[in-house]
Symmetry: C2
Subunit: 308 residues, 2 copies
């Protein structure tokens, strides 16, 4: 198994200016693995749900090559639930409800079959749970990437710094990069954050694209301009899943290949935001995805001539 | 003469979190022509100043191949003056003082030597003055580009729409595009705005780069990530000047060449914001500028492989 992800498998209820859902399937782990499944044909997920979680979702994940034996199903308990409402500009949102439920005492189990994986993606969870997954692998993976959020910077900075120091790639958004580094300039922030441990930093800027930093190299990928952004939930996780899925499938962690992985993640994220929940990811084919990656080529590609 | 620009030549007093200036030379026309001078060796500017404007600035412009015979010097009157203060994030600012002075009754004169130019850049001014310049050319130029701002949308929309309908390229920022089109999605906005006349639309997003729309093509250029943004004043004008200067110098208005022109504008804008006023533009050499254009290549360039 090439890629292992730890992340929430959850219910979301979402309200946007375009509509409203009841409880639908969401969660970082769900978006990451579904996204990665466009590239990697055998992967594992580590998570926890209650007995209220639909088995057909787990079966669908299995059909996409996602081994769900690392998802603990807690009898008599309820699945993590988040509800949020997006503002008109879709760039900010209010959390209406957070019910941790099974996530509150999540003790991640790494199945034997997962423990030799070369690629590990740590979805946004407590820094302690993320660290436990690293420690429970049979060997140090080739590449560990992690996501996190400002919440952990506010309440568990020391713990967070410890986990950050153990990973190769940190994937956070611009606000989080500024909070973590205490620097407004993302270029300066990138240096401070990489001094904390991760050799590679990805700063997500939502509709404004993403930056990849490694040594003295910077790469920028735009977000695809879209007619409608319907539901941004899971866009960042979809991006991370596409990025890690592409790297794991190609097993090439050169900077040149990371650029392609960023484009893969951006392409999948652009589908994700066009529909509610995971629908944008489950409706498309690999051919749709490859076409969209080509759109990024025409969006950004130019030939520099000798100047007049 | 290849390129003619109409735009303010003015004094600015600027306060940013990094420092504060007394009255320094600024104005859209100044930034546009200085920026264009990196590419086009003979150009003209149409503007108006008071007798308080320093002749050595005009001489410096002449030394850069900028013909200033279209700048009227009004005896006993004062040059346009703007003063502003930037907020900590450098993305928003408050205007402290606006003294129109000579600009209040500006009646643009197009010298005979300017009237056959193929490329015309209309800097941000009243839509009426912009239109007068078009009407006073001896022939319809090959490419007319214009900048404008939300202020004219608020107080002179009909007048503005008339001028917009006469140009080939409209260069505005994202907020202005949303206000003009009444659409939040920039992709949708771009269609509505191009239906108003301009075949080509450039939407500037400040530190988030710029989008170029033409027919069903979209091109995106990022802004260069910088350690310090010292003074954003004139960045948009510098961008427009680099864009038009590059097009005029190469005399090629294909979409492929417009992409390069956008990169040229972005490179020059990145220098402009690193210093107060026009200093960022006057201190650099053509070699600095070419190196920076190459940085955009490495920032955005990637090779798409066949997927695994």
């Amino acid at each position: 198994m090439r890629l292992i992800t730890v992340g929430s498998v959850a219910f979301d209820a979402i309200e946007t200016p375009f509509g409203k859902t009841d409880k639908i399937v969401g969660g970082a782990g769900t978006f990451i693995t579904l996204s990665a499944s466009f590239f990697v044909k055998s992967q594992g997920i580590i998570s926890v749900v209650g007995d209220d979680f639909p088995t057909d979702t787990l079966e669908f994940m299995n059909s996409r090559g996602i081994n769900t034996s690392g998802i603990q199903i807690k009898e008599g308990e309820k699945t993590f639930f988040w509800s949020g409402k997006y503002h008109n500009d879709m760039n900010s949102r209010d959390t209406l409800i957070t019910e941790l439920n099974v996530l509150e005492h999540f003790d991640p189990i790494v199945p034997e079959a997962f423990s030799q994986a070369d690629y590990v993606m740590l979805g946004n969870l407590t820094p302690q749970v993320q660290r436990q997954v690293i420690e429970r692998m049979a060997k140090r993976p080739k590449l560990i990437a992690m996501d996190t959020m400002n919440f952990w910077m506010d309440i568990a900075m020391d713990d967070l710094r410890e986990t950050i120091s153990m990973v190769d790639v940190l994937i956070i958004n611009d606000e989080e990069a500024r909070q973590l580094s205490k620097e407004y300039s993302l270029l300066k922030a990138s240096k401070i954050i990489r001094a904390m441990g991760p050799k590679i930093l990805i700063i997500k800027k939502g509709e404004h694209g993403a930056l990849l930093f490694h040594e003295n190299h910077v790469f920028f990928a735009p977000a695809l301009p879209l007619e409608e952004v319907f539901d941004p939930t899971g866009a960042g996780d979809t991006f991370a899943g596409g990025f890690m899925g592409y790297l794991a499938a190609t097993d090439d962690i050169s900077f040149e290949n990371m650029k392609r992985a960023i484009i893969a993640g951006s392409a999948l994220a652009s589908f994700s935001v066009e529909k509610f929940g995971t629908t944008g990811l489950t409706e498309i084919t690999e051919s749709d995805m490859e076409k969209r990656m080509q759109q990024f080529v025409s969006l950004t590609n130019f030939e520099m001539n000798q100047l007049a």
